[in-house]
């Protein structure tokens, strides 16, 4: 085959058009949305388009699948690649039929000029011809904008193999890793091991291999009983994270500098916090690896960033980049930087000792809840100078937090968990944050959308910590929006004004005003007991307003959430609804229940009893209003609801039982404490 028009696109003789995805399926439905974009750009029938999992060999490097940017960033290059393929086939049809390319149309996979027709299969040869430039063709929107069903769901509903845990490579072994009992623990002395245990050891990294999952679990149990660790206390006091986060050392991040002296007026302030949060994915992280006789290593992973992981693996394993091939296989729902990358290194380290046999490594539930990086605890001070009518004249805001990104290769280190345990260890650096143009981290959404005449906003990032933190859905935005929107409510109530009207009085952004109004109308605003929360994600993403209705009797329950969202051009309306519903339910869980627990030595929330999440019986009804704005570019929906929902719940609690809970989670006990 000569140089293809597009390496990532190929056409089978049966007319199936295969496109290698640059973004990965995390449970968010991105493969479906990308299929819709590809089908429209090709003028193909959706049924003939197959988006296949991303990989480093032959697939495009589109960076991470994160930050609700997949459609925004992954859509255009995909659309362009598909448009080139379509243009090449149009040119070929025109040449065969002796007409000008302008006279060839293509719709639902059929090329036509007068009575002449052809299919993609007929014209596939065109992809091997050299192509000059591509003419822009006006594409018809057959699929973009419609609720196409998820392409991955039929397999999952039928229980077919689809997840990485289901991989069965020829001659595959199963591996388990024996993690130290705490972040500081290191192997005391290698115990003499029985002959029948297949153990892999490198420094304090210990793993076992077996022929079946059950044997691997048994072997892990035996190894655990035989192993002794040196251990000591390094963790902060979980009951006083506020002091811990504020003690430093810090990097100071100015977000907005105030000009001039603060105006005269009444000064009011409040302090808010959230604890560390776990990803708590339903499946423990897993990966497979194989060292081939030719010196290459193949890795199967549910990572969000295959190319970053490849770089990090090559560094730790001491291999040339070209020798590491990384392929995506779906995991369970992923809400940020979880253990996916770490377990890929585990698999590679175990497979290195297996003479070409592949190894599938799966973490335990306890590993998943204690070793995946956490979303950082955060603490916020906010104060305002208000005028006689209670309106904000000046705003001061400080946020203290660990960093929100420690993905592979960030800060120049591989940042893979096992790296820190090896004989020649890699340092695992404290997390940093993305730059402001990438949405920032602890200061994401620290800047309010309101028209305040004067504002100072400063972030303080902890640069040393024993607790590993990294990206969790919406990063700092969840906390910042919770704090800002709780405080706006406090200001409104103090001024004796309606919280919705108070916000609108401070807001000129028309799209913001619209989602606030739509959510309020749909929820029947004006009834007692409702709470509202609102933000534009990252300051340039989706607009989202949430209204919560709570029940605070025996138990604290969220009965209903009404959410209005504006994501610009909607690629898949039901997909957006599903993402918003899911995000809202997860945010309800974070807000009401979740908190990573630890003593001075180790993380102690290791199972679903000690890290409870929202159950069916606790799940609110979620009503989603899509505010369509097809003239605006598409932005992601996955993270937009997190902060607004938390604030709406806190504000609804304040509206129903007249207590203000400023420290998450808002449990029944926290409400009782706040009643004092």
């Amino acid at each position: 085959m000569s140089t293809p028009v597009e390496e990532r696109v190929s056409i089978s003789s049966g007319g199936v058009i295969t496109v290698i995805a640059g973004k990965v399926e995390l449970g968010q439905g991105v493969l479906t949305a990308l299929s819709q974009i590809a089908a429209d750009a090709l003028g193909a029938d959706l049924a003939q388009v197959r988006l296949v999992a991303a990989r480093t060999d032959g697939g495009p490097d589109e960076g991470l699948t994160a930050g609700s940017l997949s459609i925004q960033r992954g859509g255009p290059p995909l659309r362009e690649a598909c448009a080139r393929v379509r243009a090449a086939c149009v040119a070929e049809a025109a040449r065969r039929w002796g007409v000008s390319p302008d006279e060839v149309t293509v719709r639902r996979g059929e090329f036509r000029s007068g009575d002449l027709t052809a299919t993609y299969a007929d014209l596939a040869k065109a992809l091997e011809l050299p192509m000059e430039d591509v003419r822009a063709v006006q594409e018809e929107r057959d699929y973009v904008g419609t609720s196409v069903p998820r392409v991955d769901l039929p397999d999952k509903v039928a229980g077919r193999p689809r997840f990485i845990h289901d991989l069965r490579l020829p001659d595959q072994l199963y591996g388990r890793v024996l993690r130290p009992p705490s972040p500081a623990a290191r192997l005391a002395r290698p115990a003499p091991l029985p002959q029948d245990l297949r153990v892999v050891r490198d420094g304090s990294f210990l793993g076992v291999l077996a022929e079946t999952e059950a044997e691997a679990d048994r072997a892990l149990g035996r190894l655990r009983r035989l192993t002794e660790w040196d251990d000591h206390d390094t963790l902060p006091d979980e009951r006083d994270l506020r002091t811990y986060l504020r003690a430093g050392p810090h990097e100071t991040v100015p977000v907005c500098e105030a000009t001039g002296e603060p105006p005269e007026g009444e000064v009011v302030g409040a302090t808010y916090s959230r604890p560390f949060l776990a990803h708590a994915s339903m499946a423990p992280s897993a990966a497979a690896a194989r060292w081939n006789p030719d010196g290459t290593v193949e890795v199967w992973t549910h990572s969000q960033g295959l190319f970053l992981l490849r770089r990090a693996l090559a560094d730790v394993l001491g291999l040339d980049l070209g020798r590491v091939v990384v392929r995506h296989v779906e995991g369970a729902g992923c809400y940020g930087h979880n253990g996916a990358d770490d377990v890929a290194l585990d698999a590679a380290l175990l497979a290195r000792e297996c003479g070409g046999r592949p190894v599938l490594v799966r973490w335990s539930r306890a590993d998943e809840l204690t070793w995946s990086p956490f979303g950082s605890a955060m603490s916020v001070d906010v104060s305002a100078v208000v005028d006689a009518a209670g309106s904000v004249r000046s705003w001061e805001y400080d946020v203290w937090s660990q960093g929100h990104i420690s993905r592979p290769t960030y800060g120049g280190e591989p940042n893979l968990l096992a790296g820190a345990h090896l004989e020649r260890p890699w340092t695992y650096r404290a997390a940093t944050d993305p730059p402001p143009q990438a949405g920032a981290g602890m200061t994401r959404n620290a800047e309010p959308i309101y028209d305040f005449p004067r504002a100072r906003i400063t972030g303080h990032r902890l640069t040393r910590t024993p607790i590993r933190s990294s990206a969790l859905r919406s990063l700092g935005a969840f906390m910042n929006v919770f704090a800002i929107e709780s405080f706006m409510d406090e200001l409104a109530l103090a001024a004796g004004r309606d919280p919705l009207a108070y916000r609108l009085d401070h807001l000129s952004d028309p799209r913001g005003r619209e989602v606030l109004r739509r959510a309020a109308d749909a929820a029947g605003w004006g009834r007692p007991g409702l709470g509202i929360g609102f933000a534009q994600y990252k300051g340039y993403g989706a607009y989202c307003a949430a209204v919560a209705e709570v029940e605070a009797e025996e138990e604290l329950r969220v009965r209903r959430l009404t959410i209005a969202v504006d994501v610009g051009l909607v690629v898949n309306p039901d997909g957006v609804r599903n993402q918003i519903e899911g995000g809202a339910i997860q945010a309800t869980s974070w807000t009401l229940k979740e908190q990573v627990r630890f003593d001075r030595r180790a993380i102690t929330s290791r199972d679903w009893e000690s890290y409870p999440i929202l159950r069916f019986s606790e799940t609110p009804e979620v009503v989603v209003e899509l505010v369509e704005d097809p003239a605006q570019p598409s932005v992601g929906a996955g993270e937009a609801a997190q902060g607004p929902v938390a604030a709406a719940i806190a504000n609804a609690v304040a509206a129903s039982v007249e207590v203000r809970v400023r420290d998450l989670p808002i449990t029944r006990d926290a409400v009782i404490r706040a009643m004092g």
Binding site: R150, A158, P284, S589, F616
Partner: protein
């Protein structure tokens, strides 16, 4: 050898009788639709029907199913057919990552077998041992009610 009826077919399992049923299903039996989530009866990802009742296969030893009926997600409907609950999950698009769905559908099928016309409260109660982290609970409840033939309000 342990004998059991698996998805309507008599089979023999060679694994040690103490082996968790989940590992036998996913290993020896090659049925990977039943998922591992916690190994501690706390999430529902591994649920199967044992003589019609939804149980955690992660903590059920193989020996406990000797001579009994085990139905996994693959066996909810014969062949390539879908059980009404499976069809309704597709119709409602009640899934995100889908990892929790096998166990949820097993719980729901167990419910409908003993109570063909449950109300919403009964559906929620029957699914309360199943966790879902992606937040598809409301869609799932709608789907199960739809499978039961109830009018579903949107």
């Amino acid at each position: 050898m342990t004998r059991l009826n698996l998805n309507g077919t008599p089979v023999e399992a060679a694994a040690d009788p103490g082996t968790p049923l989940l590992d036998v299903l996913r290993g020896e039996m090659g049925l990977v639709g039943t998922r591992f989530g916690c190994g501690a009866e706390a999430c529902g990802a591994c649920f199967v029907l044992l003589d019609g009742a939804a149980v955690a296969s992660c903590t059920t030893p193989l020996s406990a199913v000797e001579g009994r009926d085990v139905v996994t997600v693959e066996g909810l409907a014969p062949g390539d057919e879908l059980h009404p609950v499976q069809q309704a999950i597709l119709d409602e698009q009640a899934g995100q990552c889908g990892y929790c769905l096998s166990g949820i559908m097993v719980s729901a099928a167990g419910l409908l077998a003993r109570d063909p016309h449950p109300d919403e409260a009964a559906v929620i109660a029957a699914l309360d041992r199943n966790l879902c982290r992606c937040g598809v609970q409301r869609r799932v409840v709608r789907a199960v009610l739809r499978a039961a033939g109830a009018e579903v309000a949107r």
